[in-house]
Symmetry: C2
Subunit: 129 residues, 2 copies
Amino acid sequence: MRIGELAKVTDTPARSLRYYEEQDLIIPRRLPNGYREYDEYLINRVNQIRGLIDSGLPTKIIRQILPCVDKSPAIHPGDATPELLAVLEEQRDRMTQRIDCLTRNREAISNYIDVVSETITASTDTGAA
Amino acid sequence: MRIGELAKVTDTPARSLRYYEEQDLIIPRRLPNGYREYDEYLINRVNQIRGLIDSGLPTKIIRQILPCVDKSPAIHPGDATPELLAVLEEQRDRMTQRIDCLTRNREAISNYIDVVSETITASTDTGAA
DNA sequence: TCAATGGTTGACACTAGTGTGAAGGTCAAA
DNA sequence: TTTGACCTTCACACTAGTGTCAACCATTGA
């Protein structure tokens, strides 16, 4: 598929797809006319990337963890240096922190929503101002 | 406490604290000489803010959800408009998405780390190249 | 053949958050 | 009283990710 279709199915601006390529997150093949050609399995990867960016990870980090997370083509734990291992462990821990922070705050928001909803419902029911 | 101490205990650049103030996330009192004066309870709030920023939330959103999440001074569900409620629900859902994405990827990384660690251990044990 | 559509690169601009430095005020200690 | 640490505002710059536009090439269909 070409960039327009990938953009459509992943709901991602083509501009971003080119940027991800520039950051070596996705390397599409090229058609004879120079057009980018994307394989099906890259749909998942794009969604993966977008989710991680939205969760605060910079592309530089995503590039490092992507091969470990990517299920599509060959997984290659062959070139795993101790340095990469250290990076991965650090990122795993940072992700844990993010998850905890988000979870705490989501619970608080949910609580708040529940309380407020009840209040609104009650005041509506009783006709109170 | 003044900005320097708050910066130290929260491990946050004073520059950022001033920026958060500019974004109406934290409004310190002012001493007679113009210095910023922060209450103890703001330590938590700073950590909250940093965690959320690190998790991908922009300050504009944080400003909206902070009153609902903040446990320190008075919680005021009084001024909860339906619009705010909608914002909160949307953010709650986006946070759920982030949590899911981070969780999935963290698991994948953990898995990878385990596999690679075993490989390294094994090759070390057997003396294999 | 010409228009429409979609692809290419390149450049400039913008927001968010932070780094950094200038120029200056405050205050405690020597 | 002067030094030094800490504070103030202002401003410029930088990275990351994206928007947007210009100028141009490719493919398709009327």
